[in-house]
C-alpha cells in the first residue's frame, strides 16, 4: 500500500517519513492547530486501538504550521482553526479542506466575578478599553484585565472579526499563545476577561452568557449547534489532493458517528 507522500519524487520518501509503510506498519503525521489537536489525538488513539498496523503521529504548532506542513509535504494532514488565506491557497494549490467539527468561542471571566452576562457591544468596549472597570457593567469595583490570544492565532482573528468587527483591541491586552494559557490566566486573575475555544471551557473559569436581542445565550454546545450562540467557526483538516490510504480512512473515521462522538466528548460541536 502506497500512501500519498510516496507517489511524489523519490527524495520525498526520505523527507516525508510520515507516510511510509515499513514492516507492515502504516504511518501518517497530523500537525497544526492546537484547537483541533484534542480531536485529532483522541480520534487517533481510538482508531489505532482498532487497527494494530496504524501509527498516527499527532503534533501541535499552530494553524500556520499546519497549513505549511501540508503544503511543503512534511505532514500528511494539516489542522487549522481558520480558513486558508489567499496567500496560502496561491502558494500551495491543490490543498483539500475537510471540516471535521465546529467550535464556539466562549468569553470567560474569573469565577469570583459577579458579572454573568454581557452584550457583544459591551465586550467590544471592554476589549477596546472604553470600559476599564467591572463596576461599569454591573460588577465589582475592579480594574478589568484584558487577556487575549497572540496575533497569529486563528481564535484571535475569529474573535476580532466577529466581536471587535475587525477593529483593534487595546494594546494593554495581555497575550497568551494557547487556549490553556488564557484559561490559566483568567482562573488566577480576579479582574480578568478572556476568550477561549468552547472545548476548553471548565469550572476553573466562568463562561459569560451573551445578550443577543434581549435573549441570554449560554455558551454551550447545544446553543452553538442551534446557531443561537453567535460566535462559532469550523475546524479544518487539510490534505494535499483528496485524502488517500490511511489518511482517508482516518478522516472517514472522524466523520463517522463514532468519530463525531469523540468530537462531542472533547467538548466541540459535531457536524450536522
Amino acid at each position: 500500500m502506497c500512501l500519498c507522500g510516496c507517489t511524489q519524487a523519490p527524495a520525498d520518501v526520505h523527507g516525508n517519513p510520515a507516510s511510509t509503510t515499513t514492516g507492515g506498519i502504516r504511518s501518517i503525521t497530523v500537525t497544526g492547530s492546537t484547537t483541533v489537536l484534542p480531536i485529532a489525538q483522541s480520534a487517533a488513539e481510538t482508531y489505532m486501538d482498532d487497527h494494530a498496523d496504524a501509527d498516527i503521529k499527532v503534533s501541535g504548532g499552530g494553524s500556520g504550521v499546519g497549513v505549511q506542513a501540508i503544503g511543503e509535504g512534511t505532514a500528511d494532514i494539516g489542522m487549522s482553526s481558520r480558513e486558508l488565506t489567499t496567500d496560502e491557497t496561491s502558494e500551495y494549490p491543490g490543498l483539500v479542506v475537510t471540516t471535521v467539527a465546529g467550535d464556539g468561542i466562549a468569553v470567560v471571566v474569573n469565577p469570583a466575578n459577579t458579572v454573568n452576562s454581557l452584550t457583544l457591544a459591551q465586550i467590544k468596549d471592554i476589549y477596546q478599553a472604553r470600559i476599564t472597570n467591572w463596576k461599569e457593567v454591573g460588577g465589582p469595583d475592579k480594574v478589568i484585565v484584558l487577556i487575549g490570544r497572540d496575533s497569529a492565532s486563528g481564535t484571535r482573528s475569529f474573535f476580532t472579526e466577529m466581536v471587535l468587527e475587525k477593529e483593534n483591541a487595546a494594546p494593554t491586552m495581555l497575550e497568551q499563545n494557547s487556549n490553556g494559557g488564557v484559561l490559566q490566566s483568567v482562573a488566577q486573575t480576579p479582574g480578568a476577561i478572556g476568550y477561549i475555544s468552547i472545548g476548553y471551557l471548565d469550572n476553573t473559569v466562568k463562561g459569560l452568557d451573551l445578550l443577543v436581542d434581549g435573549n441570554q445565550i449560554t455558551p454551550t454546545v447545544a446553543n452553538v449547534k442551534s446557531g443561537q450562540y453567535p460566535v462559532s467557526r469550523p475546524l479544518l483538516m487539510i490534505t494535499r489532493g483528496a485524502p488517500q490510504g490511511l489518511s482517508k480512512s482516518y478522516l472517514d473515521f472522524i466523520l463517522s458517528p463514532d468519530g463525531q462522538k469523540i468530537v462531542a466528548d472533547q467538548g466541540y460541536i459535531t457536524l450536522n
Binding site: I56, S63, D87, E88, N168, G180
Partner: protein, 659 residues
C-alpha cells in the same frame, strides 16, 4: 577518539626518521581538523544570519528599517496592520537588565561561597544542587512562574495581574544563575593557590584576599560567566512568554517593574506557530528575529571588547602565556582599578538581594545607603567589613537554595502521587491525561545523546584549537566571537533555522536527526567556552615540561593537558545535557510530535519528547495538572540521573589530580 587509538597502535617497530615524518603529517592533519571544528561556529552563525536576513528582508523593504525599529505599535493583524517593534525592544532590554540585577550578585556571591567559604561537605552538596537548577527545563520554570510566581506578585503588590516585567526578570534571573555560578566558580577555583597564600602571608584578611586578589584574578572567567548568563536570559522564550503578559506596551513610568511587558523572543514564541507562511506578518517575525540577533550581537561584541581590554592590560607586549602573567598583574596599575571597583560589586550584590526580597523601592534605598557606606568605608575596621561581606555571600547562596527548594518542592509534592510503573512504561492516553510517557522519555534520551555526540567532538576540537594552537589574533577573535554570538542566539531562532534549513531545505522532514543537529548547534558554544576555560587552567609549565621531554604537540594535549582539564570539560557537558534535555523551542518545529505509537526506528522519523509533552499538557490540555507535574518530575529525575553519573566521574578525576 580514533586518533588516540591510532597513536597507541604506532609501535616502536617504525624507524625513528619515518616516525618523525609521520608525526609531523599527523600533527598538521590534527591541527586542520581542530581548525575546522573551531571555524564551524562561525560558519553556523553566518548561515543563521544570512537565512534570517533573507526571510526578514521583505518587511524592511516594505516598512523601512527605521519605521520598523522605532514604530510604537505592534499589531500585525490589526486594521491597518502595524509593524512597530520599539516596545518589544524596550521590553527585551528591561527584562534582561532586571534578570541581571538579580542573577549577577546572587551568582557571584554563590560562586564565592562555594569556592572560598564552604566547608568541603557543604560544597559537595551545594555544587551539584546548583547544577541541578540548570536542569530544570524552561517550560517548567514558565509553568511554575505562571502558577506560583505571578499569583504571588499579584497578591503581594496588589496589582490587577501578576504577569509583569518583575515576574519575567525573576524567572530569567533564576534561570541564568546556574550558568553564572558554575562558570564563575570554575574561574575562581582556578586562581593559583600561591596567590591566595601570598596575600594571606602579607597580612591581608580573607575578605581582602578575595576582593583584591582572587576576584580580580578570576575576572575574565567571571565576565565569561556573565555573558553566558546574559545570553541565556536574552534568548529565553518559553518561560518569558508564559509570565510577562505579552502586552506590547512600554512600562509607564519606564521603571515600573509591575507593568506587563513583551519581549522579542516572546513575540516569536507565541506568533510563529500560527502565522501564515509567506505573509507580511511572517516576514515581520523574521525581522523581529534579525533585530533580536543584532541586539545579542551588540551585547556580545561589547562584552568581548571589555574582555579583550582586560586581557590586553594583563598582557605585557609579546607575552603570550597567560599563566605566567599573574605576577605581572600584581604589580600593574590595573589592580588598583579593580580594587576600587570591588566595593561597588558588593553594593550591586546587596541591591540585587533587596530587589529580589522586597522590590524596587527598597533596592534603590539600599543602593544609596551602601553607596554612602562605601565612600566612608575607610573608617570601618576590616574585620567588620569581612563580617558584612561574608554575611552577604552566605545570604546569596541561601536565597539560591531556598528558590531551588521551593521549585523542587512544588514539583515533587504535586507530581509524586502520579508516578507509577505504568506511567513510565506506557504510551499516553486521552491526550496525556491518562496512560504514561514512555515514548517521550525515550525520545528525549535519543535527542540528547545525538546532540551531545555531535556537539562534544566539535566543541572539544574548537576549544583545543583556540587554547593550544593559536596566539590571540584575528582568527581566534573571530572564532570566539562566533561562538559567543551562537551562545547569544535565542533558542527559538535555532528552531526556526532548523526548520527552514534541515527540515525543508535538506529535506530531512520533521525528524530525530533534525532535532539532534539543532540542539547540538545550541549547546556547542557552552561546550567550547567551558572547555576553553578548563584547558586554560592547566599551567603552562606542565605543557613545557611535556614538550621538553620530546612529546609531540598532540601527545602533550591528549595525555598531559586534557586529563587534568577533564572536570571542567565535564561540567560544560553537564550544563549542555541539562539544557538540551529541557529545551522546547528548538525541537518544536524540527523533531517532535505530540504522540506516536511506536518508537522511532530511524533518524528520519519524528519523536516524542518530555519537554514538548509537558508544554502541550501545560498549555493545551485542561485537567491534566497531575500528569503535568508528574512529567516535570520525571524530566527532573532523568536529568538528576545524568548529572549524578557525570558528577561521580568528575569527583573521580578531581581525586586523582595533583599538580
Amino acid at each position: 577518539m580514533e586518533v588516540n587509538a591510532a597513536e597507541g597502535a604506532k609501535g616502536s617497530d617504525i624507524p625513528a626518521g619515518k616516525t618523525r615524518g609521520m608525526l609531523r603529517v599527523k600533527e598538521s592533519i590534527l591541527k586542520s581538523i581542530w581548525f575546522l571544528c573551531a571555524i564551524f561556529a562561525v560558519v553556523t552563525i553566518f548561515f543563521i544570519l544570512v537565512f534570517l536576513f533573507w526571510d526578514g528582508y521583505p518587511i524592511f523593504a516594505q516598512v523601512g528599517v527605521w519605521n520598523f525599529i522605532t514604530g510604537m505599535t505592534w499589531n500585525p493583524t490589526g486594521n491597518p496592520p502595524m509593524y512597530g517593534i520599539f516596545p518589544l525592544i524596550v521590553g527585551t532590554v528591561l527584562v534582561t537588565i532586571g534578570a541581571m540585577v538579580i542573577s549577577i550578585p546572587l551568582g557571584i556571591g554563590s560562586a564565592l561561597y562555594i569556592s572560598e567559604l564552604a566547608p568541603a561537605g557543604v560544597k559537595a552538596v551545594v555544587k551539584p544542587a546548583i547544577e541541578l537548577l540548570a536542569g530544570i527545563p524552561s517550560v517548567v520554570f514558565g509553568f511554575f512562574g505562571l502558577v506560583v510566581l505571578t499569583s504571588w506578585i499579584q497578591v503581594t503588590f496588589d496589582v490587577p495581574t501578576g504577569q509583569t516585567w518583575l515576574a519575567g526578570s525573576i524567572l530569567l534571573g533564576i534561570m541564568a544563575l546556574p550558568t553564572i555560578i558554575s562558570v564563575s566558580e570554575d574561574a575562581i577555583s582556578s586562581v593559583p593557590r600561591e596567590f591566595k597564600e601570598g596575600s594571606l602571608a602579607v597580612g591581608a584578611n580573607h575578605w581582602q584576599t578575595i576582593s583584591r586578589v582572587i576576584v580580580p584574578g578570576a575576572l575574565s572567567g567571571i565576565t565569561a560567566a556573565i555573558i553566558l548568563g546574559m545570553g541565556r536570559a536574552l534568548g529565553e522564550t518559553m518561560a518569558v512568554l508564559m509570565v510577562t503578559g505579552n502586552a506590547a506596551i512600554i512600562p509607564s513610568p519606564i521603571w515600573n517593574v509591575l507593568s506587563p511587558i513583551r519581549t522579542l523572543t516572546g513575540t516569536l514564541g507565541i506568533e510563529m506557530g500560527e502565522v501564515a507562511i509567506g505573509s507580511t506578518h511572517f516576514h515581520a517575525l523574521f525581522g523581529v528575529a534579525v533585530v533580536l540577533l543584532v541586539i545579542t550581537l551588540g551585547v556580545n561584541l561589547m562584552a568581548t571588547a571589555i574582555l579583550g581590554r582586560i586581557r590586553e592590560r594583563q598582557m605585557p607586549t609579546g607575552e603570550k602565556k597567560k599563566n605566567l602573567l599573574f605576577c605581572a598583574i600584581a604589580r600593574s596599575g590595573w589592580m588598583g582599578g579593580v580594587r576600587n571597583a570591588t566595593p561597588w560589586i558588593g553594593a550591586v550584590l546587596l541591591t540585587g538581594l533587596m530587589f529580589l526580597l522586597s522590590g524596587a523601592g527598597a533596592a534603590v534605598l539600599t543602593l544609596g545607603m551602601t553607596g554612602g557606606v562605601i565612600t566612608t568605608r575607610r573608617r570601618i575596621p576590616p574585620r567588620l567589613v569581612q563580617k558584612i561581606a561574608f554575611a552577604l555571600i552566605a545570604l546569596s547562596i541561601v536565597v539560591v537554595l531556598v528558590v531551588l527548594g521551593i521549585i523542587l518542592w512544588d514539583i515533587v509534592s504535586k507530581g509524586i502521587g502520579y508516578i507509577s510503573w505504568d506511567f513510565l512504561t506506557q504510551s499516553p492516553r486521552d491526550l496525556g491525561r491518562a496512560g504514561g510517557i514512555f515514548p517521550a522519555l525515550v525520545g528525549t534520551l535519543y535527542l540528547v545523546i545525538g546532540a551531545i555526540a555531535i556537539a562534544l567532538p566539535l566543541g572539544l576540537g574548537a576549544a583545543v584549537y583556540l587554547t593550544e594552537y593559536t596566539r590571540e589574533g584575528k582568527i581566534t577573535r573571530m572564532i570566539r566571537t562566533g561562538a559567543d554570538l551562537l551562545n547569544g542566539t535565542p533558542s527559538i531562532v535555532f528552531g526556526l533555522f532548523g526548520f527552514a534549513f534541515l527540515v525543508l531545505y535538506l529535506n530531512f522532514g520533521v525528524s530525530l536527526i533534525a532535532g539532534q543537529i539543532t540542539l547540538a548547534l545550541m549547546v556547542l558554544p557552552t561546550i567550547i567556552r567551558t572547555t576553553e576555560e578548563a584547558l586554560k587552567t592547566v599551567p603552562c609549565s606542565v605543557r613545557e615540561g611535556s614538550l621538553a621531554l620530546g612529546a609531540t604537540k598532540w601527545q602533550t594535549i591528549s595525555r598531559v593537558v586534557i586529563p587534568p582539564a577533564m572536570p571542567g570539560i565535564i561540567t560544560g557537558t553537564i550544563l549542555s545535557i541539562g539544557r538540551a534535555a529541557g529545551e522546547t523551542a528548538p525541537i518544536l518545529f524540527t523533531a517532535v510530535v505530540f504522540s506516536q505509537r511506536f518508537l522511532p526506528t530511524s533518524l528520519f522519523e519524528p519523536v516524542m519528547a518530555l519537554p514538548y509533552h509537558l508544554y502541550i499538557l501545560a498549555t493545551n490540555v485542561p485537567g491534566a495538572q497531575g500528569y503535568q507535574y508528574a512529567t516535570a518530575l520525571v524530566l527532573l529525575m532523568l536529568v538528576i540521573a545524568i548529572y549524578s553519573v557525570a558528577i561521580v566521574i568528575r569527583y573521580h578525576y578531581q581525586k586523582t589530580l595533583h599538580w
